[in-house]
């Protein structure tokens, strides 16, 4: 597009997005700024002299911090990796049919439309020791009592949290991969085959470099979401240690108002990690565009 045309379209875009962007900036940007002021103990009366990093220091030196961040990383990394692995297999398997199959697309979209909260509550109702499954198995004598049902909710390994995240994120990653595979079609793999590439070599040297940047970008987005999400670990996680978002929420809603700045500091740490992840995902998408593997 020529310079003036592009300029005009950018103006048009700014005009169209302006109202929505203003509200987002005011609500989210304003909230973040106020939070930052609170976390830094900034007071308009004393100005910059009052700024302190004590609340951040308190968080970082808290004995629970290491356990909390380890749990949060475990949940987000494991669920992201599992979702990515399953998505790659799924996308490669269904790429041929997905392009023109509305039913397949519809089925894939179901998990995308259901909120995380609904799935978490469903898991709680189904899989908790007092849930439907334990009663069902107990009723039919498969277990002696509902309390002997394996602990799948609020457990040490966060199994139910991982399952919820994996179930929710698979369609998201799969759709991103399918769009790349759809754009390129099967021809490059066919070229690889006639150039003596075995199935495994074609996956390693053709498919993976093509889907790699998009997969990486999708994984970073999923990681950012699961790292900062609160409701699922709150409902399905164990009580100690808790994930960073749950810890932030607990501190923020503590009856002791002095705990609130620490809660905000934790929230800001989470926001910083998410921002880095999202920025990296955008860098990967740009990289993929430069390589010509996504449009």
């Amino acid at each position: 597009m020529s310079g003036p045309g592009r300029k005009a379209s950018l103006h048009q875009l700014a005009y169209l997005l302006g109202p929505a962007l203003t509200i987002i900036l005011l609500l989210f940007g304003g909230g973040l700024l106020l939070g930052l002021f609170q976390a830094l103990d900034f007071s308009s009366a004393t100005g910059m002299k009052s700024i302190t990093f004590d609340h951040f220091r308190t968080v970082f030196t808290d004995p629970d911090f290491a356990g909390s961040i380890a749990l949060t990383l475990y949940i987000s990394l494991t669920s992201t990796l599992l979702a990515a692995l399953i998505s790659v297999v799924l996308a490669l398997t269904i790429a041929h049919w997905a392009a023109n199959n509305r039913i397949l697309n519809f089925i894939l979209q179901i998990p995308l439309t259901v909120p995380h909260l609904v799935i978490a509550i469903s898991f709680l109702l189904l899989l908790s020791p007092g849930g439907i499954f334990s009663r069902f198995f107990s009723f039919f004598g498969m277990i002696t009592s509902p309390s002997t049902f394996p602990l799948l909710v609020n457990d040490d390994y966060g199994i139910s949290i991982l399952v919820v995240y994996v179930w929710k994120e698979i369609p998201f990653i799969t759709f991103m991969l399918l769009s790349v595979l759809k754009n390129l079609g099967p021809e490059l793999s066919e070229v690889g085959a006639t150039l003596n590439g075995s199935r495994l070599q074609r996956f390693r040297y053709i498919t993976l470099p093509i889907i790699g940047p998009s997969l990486g970008a999708a994984c970073l987005i999923v990681f950012a979401f699961t790292f900062g999400a609160f409701e699922v670990p709150y409902l399905l996680g164990k009580t100690y240690p808790v994930s960073l978002p749950v810890w932030a929420y607990k501190n923020y809603s503590d009856i002791d108002l002095l705990a609130r700045p620490e809660g905000i500091a934790i929230g800001l740490i989470i926001a910083a990690i998410i921002t880095v992840s999202i920025t990296l995902s955008q860098v990967l998408i740009q990289f993929a565009r430069k390589r010509g593997v996504i449009l």
């Binding site: 021809e187 490059l188 066919e190 070229v191 690889g192 085959a193 006639t194 150039l195 003596n196 590439g197 075995s198 070599q201 040297y205 053709i206 470099p209 093509i210 390589r291 010509g292 593997v293």
Partner: protein, 339 residues
């Protein structure tokens, strides 16, 4: 010795038969063109030879070994597609060396082969270029080099020139011929462009309606078509029978009714009695010009002869107009009777 032999190959998509009992062979070091209109199944045949599609019936032999059961990567055949289909994340040298990497060839040998093929395909100096920095012609040359470097038993080319403009197409055609002479690579070249097929090939196989109509040297197909459809494919609409009125007018009327053709450019056309006098009286017919189409190098004239037959004539720089009376002469030695 045949590098490639297809024995009664039948190819189907579901219930639809695309190719029926097709047989052809390509000898060592030959360039054979598989010529046919769009949708004739040419690409399907190449993909079947390459192992990307399975035939419903028949045998495919490469180097006299049946390869029906072998996957594409195990066949000694490389397919060059219509689009270059280069790997966008690799540079020129890496693209060319891709197949060698799959064969796990040593680095030094790989580099030697890549450099040699870069030279042959006139791509020297472009080793480290990104694919998007290449022109369409250069990209197609890289695709050709990527196939040639593997020194396959047979190189399958699926209309590799069709996406190029006329000048580039000509250059690329010459390059393919030069490369073939230098490397001795056996090639099966698919095209819908008859001029391309005639210019590049040792032999041409014409594919019409899912079966091979005629195979032979380019001149054979062009001047001695096996049937009227082959003649029409090569731009010869002059299909007549010995029962046709103007043919009966000639001296050698035969009792047996036969079909014959004469190429439009072989018909001599005269505009005046004086000119007519200079020509032999044998097979000379009076007619009226009913159509004039300027096609550049030649002009296509349609002439109504004996108030009945339409004869197509090609001539250069004609001074004829519609409604003009002309005389046509059909040299006996240019008339081809269908078998």
């Amino acid at each position: 010795m045949s590098q490639l032999e297809l024995q009664n190959i039948t190819i189907q998509y579901g219930e639809t038969t695309i190719i029926s009992a097709l047989s052809l062979s390509v000898e060592n070091g030959e360039i054979v063109s598989l010529l046919g209109p769009s949708g004739a199944g040419k690409t399907t045949i190449l993909k079947t030879i390459a192992g990307l599609l399975q035939p419903a019936d028949g045998q495919i032999l490469i180097n006299n070994i049946s390869v029906n059961h072998l996957p594409a990567e195990k066949r000694d055949a490389v397919l060059i597609f219509q689009k270059p289909l280069l790997f966008p994340f690799l540079n020129v040298a890496q693209n060319i060396g891709f197949g060698l990497k799959m064969q796990k060839m040593k680095q030094r040998e790989t580099e030697r082969k890549i450099n040699r093929i870069l030279e042959i395909t006139e791509l020297k100096g472009l080793n480290n270029r990104k694919i998007h920095q290449l022109s369409g012609g250069q990209q197609q040359r890289v695709a050709l080099a990527r196939g040639l470097v593997l020194e396959p038993a047979i190189l399958l080319l699926d209309e590799p020139l069709s996406n190029l403009d006329a000048e580039l197409r000509q250059q690329m055609r010459e390059l393919i011929q030069t490369v073939q002479q230098q490397t001795g690579t056996t090639m099966l070249f698919v095209t819908h462009d008859q001029a391309e097929a005639l210019a590049i090939s040792d032999r041409v196989c014409l594919l019409l309606d899912g079966s091979l109509r005629q195979t032979g040297r380019p001149e054979e197909l062009f001047y001695s078509p096996a049937d009227p459809e082959v003649a029409r494919f090569f731009g010869c609409d002059n299909i007549f029978t010995t029962a046709d009125s103007f043919r009966q007018q000639s001296d050698d009327v035969q009792n047996e009714q036969k079909m014959f053709t004469i190429r439009p450019e072989d018909i001599e056309i005269y505009s005046s009695d004086q000119q007519r006098e200079t020509a032999s009286h044998q097979h000379l017919f009076e007619g009226t010009v009913t159509g004039v189409v300027f096609e550049g190098r030649l002009t296509k004239l349609t002439v109504k002869v004996m108030a009945k037959e339409h004869v197509t004539v090609l001539c250069s720089r004609p001074a004829f107009h519609i409604g003009q009376t002309v005389w046509l002469r059909m040299p006996e030695d240019r008339i081809h009777f269908f078998p």
